[in-house]
């Protein structure tokens, strides 16, 4: 039913098609961009073709060109799709879980307990994220997993706040009292009544955030905090373009391929999730369906 409604809306259709495209690319990466024989055990390592440091334009063998250090852009984009999904799904999943758990329990219990938890959330939210991420990676070391940890640590608070607001409202509804009267335990009420009635704004937010997480992860890679050099990651691909975006004197677009392809991948990825999030917003509420 949800699917049917998604299909009826042209914008969400575009979102779905884009997302489906990315899913297929991620699934079939080994066939689209086969790993070289000598790198069989490290498929996420982007192969290099040559030893110069400057990029070289697209050719038949390298349809998106080679970026700084002669890394193959096409390979990086294709396998980077997997990285984008991994980072996006893991970060969104974990931070959503943490946020929903803490936010809903806090609001359901309410009172002083809730107040203390929310001050704690405020503290987390008042940290400038990038600085915090730099500190975390400085302590834990560089790497995608560290980026994921930093993102989860600073993303759950948004979900916690969001769900808390709705739980504070919903817990006043009479059907909660009706469940109490029927002898339903507090944890069961939370799981069966409170969360189903408050989770949708969170899911919409989560789908919107899938895109922005990938952008943030890319930013961290760009700053050199993320994946190690040569790892298939869109942010990393863009960071390779750093010295070449301005082209060369007289030829401003000379190295366009170093930034356009990874840039396009990120923009389309973000766009697809946002379109889907928008569509969810309109669809997921059975009260609107009536």
């Amino acid at each position: 039913m949800v699917i049917k409604k998604l299909l009826r809306n042209p914008l969400s259709m575009i979102g779905l098609v884009l997302l489906l495209g990315f899913v297929l690319i991620a699934l079939f990466a080994p066939w689209i961009a086969p790993t070289l024989e000598e790198h069989k055990n490290e498929p996420y390592r982007v192969p290099r073709f040559g030893w110069g440091s400057s990029p070289s334009p697209p050719t038949k063998e390298h349809p998106m060109g080679l970026t700084q250090g002669k890394y193959d852009v096409f390979y990086g984009i294709i396998w980077g799709t997997r990285t984008a999904f991994q980072v996006g799904l893991i970060v969104t999943g974990l931070s959503c879980l943490l946020g929903v758990l803490i936010g809903s329990v806090s609001a359901y219990i309410g009172g002083k307990f809730d107040e203390v938890i929310m001050r704690f959330v405020d503290v987390f939210m008042s940290f400038p994220f990038l600085i915090a991420a730099i500190v975390i990676t400085a302590v834990l070391g560089r790497g995608l997993d560290k980026v994921i940890i930093a993102l989860v640590l600073f993303r759950w608070t948004g979900y916690a706040r969001l769900i808390r607001g709705s739980v504070l409202q919903v817990k006043q509804d009479e059907y909660i009292m009706a469940a109490r009267a029927g002898g339903v335990s507090h944890p069961a009420i939370l799981v069966r009544h409170i969360i189903p009635n408050t989770i949708f704004p969170v899911l919409i937010q989560a789908s919107m955030n899938m895109g922005s997480i990938v952008v943030t992860a890319a930013t961290l890679s760009f700053l050199g905090l993320g994946a190690p050099e040569g790892y298939a990651d869109w942010g990393q691909m863009i960071s390779f373009a750093r010295n070449w975006v301005l082209g060369s004197p007289g030829e401003p677009l000379k190295y366009w391929y170093t930034v356009v392809w990874p840039g396009a991948a990120i923009v389309l990825f973000v766009l697809s999730w946002n379109l889907i999030g928008d569509a969810f917003r309109d669809i997921m509420d059975p009260r609107i369906q009536a």
């Binding site: 059907y175 469940a179 109490r180 009267a181 029927g182 002898g183 009635n197 059975p286 009260r287 009536a290």
Partner: protein, 342 residues
């Protein structure tokens, strides 16, 4: 209504109070209390219907919710008879007593979870009370839906697909799922269209007979409880001001507030021009009730004594007639005669 008049007491409520704190400022200092229920005592006999009547905000819902410990009462003693024994209802025992006491809520639109199917809404108390087998639960649900005038065809639907009257029937089916002995009906028809009110009232009447239920029936005007109650308690600002058999309360009210409520019931026969008593002023706030008799600022018979001293609920006539008025015995108040109203 089915006056199963065996006299054994099912519920005893003694000096029940519920004060809601009013908090102020950053540190949530308690600045005072809303005395929503302020020392209410009554008994309900097995098989009867006790009507609980009063204006909006007088504490009827709070009384009902406190009885079932859906909100924690501030003080007071509640006892329920289970298998011949009077058991205390408190936060420790309530878990085991839920199946004996159920409630039908005022608002059928917020009392059903919008994301649950009807079968799961009605089955929920069964599930919570350990009926693990899904098949068996749904069989019970079907039987329950049948007895409230709905059927198997409704089981898989969601609440928004139903009208107010149907939703209230679903709420009734849920309340009856555990075979309770006492059901608090909190204004079960006040949110419904006039045309379906009578249907739901008749249903409640039939179910009382079928399942041997005892009702505490809350309403905000006397005309609704007239036909459904055996006895009526009138509430004003958190206290019961009069309680009597329904006929006596209507024909010989002993409290000026009851008299005023009775005079507000519309006359079916325009020739009998009963004089309506218009009460002056509004109901005072339960956060700041008047000194002395709570009713004195609006009472046409108030004296200095009423301003000073709060009257207790005392015998005021035959048949257990109780009233909280200094002049209950002296005033000659106007009632309505049986059959005079619609």
């Amino acid at each position: 209504m089915a006056a199963a008049k065996n006299k054994d007491v099912l519920l005893t409520v003694n000096n029940l109070k519920k004060y809601f704190p009013i908090t102020k400022g950053l540190f949530r200092r308690t600045a005072g209390y809303v005395k929503a229920v302020d020392g209410v005592s009554f008994q309900v006999r097995r098989g009867e219907t006790l009507g609980l009547v009063g204006e909006s905000g007088c504490g009827k819902t709070t009384t009902g919710l406190s009885l079932l410990h859906l909100i924690q009462p501030t003080s007071g003693r509640i006892q329920l008879q289970v298998k011949g024994k009077m058991l205390d209802v408190n936060s420790k025992t309530i878990g085991g007593l839920r199946r004996e006491m159920q409630i039908i809520f005022q608002d059928p639109f917020s009392s059903l979870d919008p994301r649950m199917r009807i079968r799961d809404i009605v089955a929920e108390p069964l599930r919570a009370h350990g009926l693990k087998n899904r098949q068996q639960r749904y069989e019970r649900v079907e039987a329950l839906l049948n007895s409230v005038g709905l059927g198997a065809a409704h089981m898989n639907r969601f609440p928004h697909e139903f009208s107010g009257g149907q939703r209230q029937r679903i709420g009734i089916a849920r309340a009856l799922s555990l075979h309770p002995s006492l059901v608090v009906c909190d204004e079960p028809v006040s949110a419904l269209d006039v045309s379906v009110q009578a249907q739901v009232l008749n249903l409640l009447d039939d179910l009382q007979e079928e399942f041997g239920l005892t009702y505490l029936f809350v309403a905000h005007d006397l005309s609704v409880v007239q036909h459904i109650s055996d006895r009526v308690a009138v509430m004003y600002l958190g206290r019961i001001v009069e309680m009597a058999e329904v006929e006596l309360l209507f024909s010989e009210p002993k409290h000026p507030y009851t008299e005023a409520l009775l005079s507000a019931i519309p006359e079916p026969d325009p020739d009998i021009k009963g004089e309506q008593i218009i009460l002056k002023g509004d109901v005072p706030s339960p956060a700041d009730p008047p000194q002395g008799c709570h009713f004195h600022p609006r009472c046409p018979y108030a004296t200095e004594l009423c301003r000073q001293e709060s009257p207790k609920l005392r015998p005021a006539g035959e048949g257990g007639h109780l009233a909280a008025c200094h002049y209950a015995q002296k005033l000659n108040l106007n009632g309505v005669f049986p059959g005079e109203t619609a």
